[in-house]
Amino acid sequence: MRIVFLVAVLGGAVFYSYIAFVDLNFLTRTGRLGPGFFPRIIGVGMALTTIWVILDALRDRARVAAGGAAGADDAPAGSWGDAVKLIALALGYAVLLRLFGGFVATLIYLAATLSLLNPGRHVQNALVAVLLPIFVYILFDRLLNANMPPAMFELLPF
């Protein structure tokens, strides 16, 4: 998985460099440093360093396959399932926000997330799922006069 992430970073670095070289000028017409000066240095530097890191990671992998100790950069053992679950729920929340606005989306998200992460404690979950959206609504919308995400499909009268 680490290699996949590093390759994704390398892909980003190559794409960034491509635009820096193709779309952005190194110097302006008056001979000053152009908009491409910094991006070219950054892009090339990022691509080269990432390649170096990938080579290190591949060497580490070969060493581990040969029975050596895991490298210092290897990810510590953990639960992918729980992390992925939380990420997926968070992304679902992002979609709900667009559809139903800040208050309703938060209520649905909390109810769904807590029932998955904190199963069996229905009263506790229901209380948190209702009270927290009310608290953030009062804090952001009423006290701070800040923006709450508007709904595409309005379910509430306020």
Binding site: A13, L33, A72, A75, A83, L114, V136
Partner: protein
């Protein structure tokens, strides 16, 4: 005398009922954030920055500063009671803090950590009061070449401190620089990496990235590490029959420990990239080597708790010096503070204290008050924070997602920025997982545009010659200091890691 009258003026600005409420609220919220494992000052500041938008600048900056050092105070409570540091700067506090609690001295340990934090923080603010005007005066002669070099120094020292993973630190910083180039090029007006999006013309906003990386990224990582399953089962309860207050011997035996590590912590804090973590580990190591009974360290020695606590709070104060006087943040937390200043149209730098004396001195004065408030909260609200530690992470987690999301949206009412925050959260999780440095990314995102602008101005002044960096005395000084730091910092880092490893091996 000038300093004294400025400080009195600062106190008159800071001591208003509403500002005191903000200060108290910031200190409390900071402590709460510090108590949550995985969330340090940078996460707390990033998440709570949007909450301050409705306030006036003085109150908002005071509140953010209180959150910043409140989180430093709070991080130690879990180190002592749960053997789980709230964040990296309080790792060293577990070495003797947890053994003290196991010996039935949780109460004295918690009170002494609060006193040590107060002493470190207050000495740090006294040193800021004396040194910040001097730094401002020196830096008034700085031009674009010096600013470019200072930004480079900040990045270099941070990467050097990353240690064995320095290549990943470089990649992290370059990602930050790359994000910093998005938007319209100010010199030519040409769009860079905007892909026709109107939302990207103004560049990638710092706040969603910081909230995503430090808020969501840390949270996802905490779930990956299984923190939500551990609960608070290992928490050491404060024995009601045992003495809660420290005895005179605790104070007498640690008085010089507090004095020396206040200064050491402050000096380390001023160095960009070094920060509170290195300061606390170095303080622990130094204290043990100076002690007549080094064998007691790791077994519940009060000096072993007091040293890192004094140093990490003094370091937090020290980090304010480059921020206020040069406009260069030395850490992720001060980078978020810089973003907060910029949100109110304030630009910290050599002229900041001269042009905004009320805000600058109000902030410094508020730090004196903040340390007193935090000492009181730390001592008298300990039972409250113990209850907070008991709130399961599986409930805190979703609540943090909600606050991060709605906080990000509230800044500019932008769904694009909210989605960027989620993306930064996922990237931040992988960065944390594979040893990258989110702090380097955030620092580079802030420093990148400043560095690019300064370099382009420099080369315009010098007509394309890099020799200008060697012609100006101030530039030469900065280059010299950078070279010395790059050589010395790995040694300091090694001293700190050695102390950490020795304690781990010892138990």
């Amino acid at each position: 005398m000038d300093i004294f009258s400025d400080l009195v003026m600062g106190l008159s600005v800071a001591i208003t009922p509403i500002n005191l409420v903000y200060l108290l609220a910031g200190a409390m919220v900071g402590m709460v954030v510090g108590v949550i494992p995985g969330f340090g000052p940078s996460a707390g500041l990033a998440i709570l920055l949007p909450v301050t938008f409705g306030m006036d600048p003085v109150g908002a900056i005071m509140m953010l500063a209180a959150i910043y050092y409140g989180a430093m105070y709070g991080g130690t409570i879990t180190s002592i009671l749960l053997n789980t540091p709230g964040e990296s700067a309080t790792v060293a506090s577990t070495f003797d803090g947890f053994p003290l609690a196991k010996k039935g001295r949780a109460g004295p340990a918690l009170v002494m950590q609060a006193v040590a934090s107060f002493v470190g923080g207050t000495v740090g603010v006294i040193l800021i009061t004396i040194l910040a005007p001097l730094f401002s005066q020196v830096s008034r002669s700085f031009g674009p070449p010096e600013y470019f070099l200072l930004a480079a120094m900040g990045m270099l020292t941070l990467i050097v401190m990353i240690g064995t993973n320095w290549k990943l630190g470089v990649v992290s910083a370059l990602i930050g620089f790359a994000l910093g180039t998005v938007g319209v090029d100010l010199e030519t007006g040409q769009g860079r990496y905007t892909f026709g999006s109107a939302e990207l013309i103004g560049g990638i906003y710092f706040i969603p990235i910081a909230i995503g990386l430090f808020g969501l990224g840390e949270l996802f990582y905490a779930f990956y590490s299984g923190l939500h399953k551990t609960g608070s089962g290992g928490i050491i309860q404060i024995d009601k029959k045992a003495r809660f207050w420290p005895d005179a011997q605790d104070f007498i035996s640690t008085r010089w420990t507090m004095a020396r590590h206040s200064v050491l912590g402050f000096v380390v804090g001023v160095i960009p990239g070094a920060g509170a973590t290195i300061a606390s580990l170095m303080a622990y190591s130094t204290e043990r080597s100076l002690s007549k009974t080094p064998e007691k360290f790791g077994q519940g020695e009060m000096a072993g708790l007091v040293a890192p606590e004094t140093a990490n709070n003094a370091a937090s104060s020290g980090a304010m010096i480059p921020l206020l006087t040069l406009g260069i943040p030395g850490s992720a937390s001060t980078a978020v503070l810089l973003a907060a200043f910029m949100l109110w149209g304030l630009r910290p730098g050599p002229l900041f204290m001269e042009q905004n004396p009320e805000l600058a001195w109000g902030l410094i004065a508020s730090m004196y008050l903040g340390n007193m408030v935090l000492l009181a909260i730390s001592v008298f609200a300990i039972p409250l924070f113990v209850q907070l530690i008991k709130v399961p992470y599986r409930i805190l987690g979703p609540a943090v997602v909600v606050i991060c999301t709605l906080g990000t949206f509230s800044v500019n009412a932008s769904f694009v920025e909210t989605y960027l925050m989620f993306a930064a959260g996922i990237v931040g999780f992988f960065m944390r997982l594979y040893g990258f440095s989110p702090a380097a990314l955030v620092l580079a995102l802030v420093l990148g545009p400043l560095a690019e602008e300064a370099l382009r101005q420099t080369l315009t002044i010098s007509r394309g010659s890099f020799g200008i960096f060697l012609e100006r005395p101030a530039s030469l000084w900065i280059i010299g200091v950078t070279v010395v730091l790059v050589l010395i910092l790995p040694l300091l880092g090694r001293i700190g890691s050695k102390a950490g490893r020795a304690e781990k091996a010892g138990g």
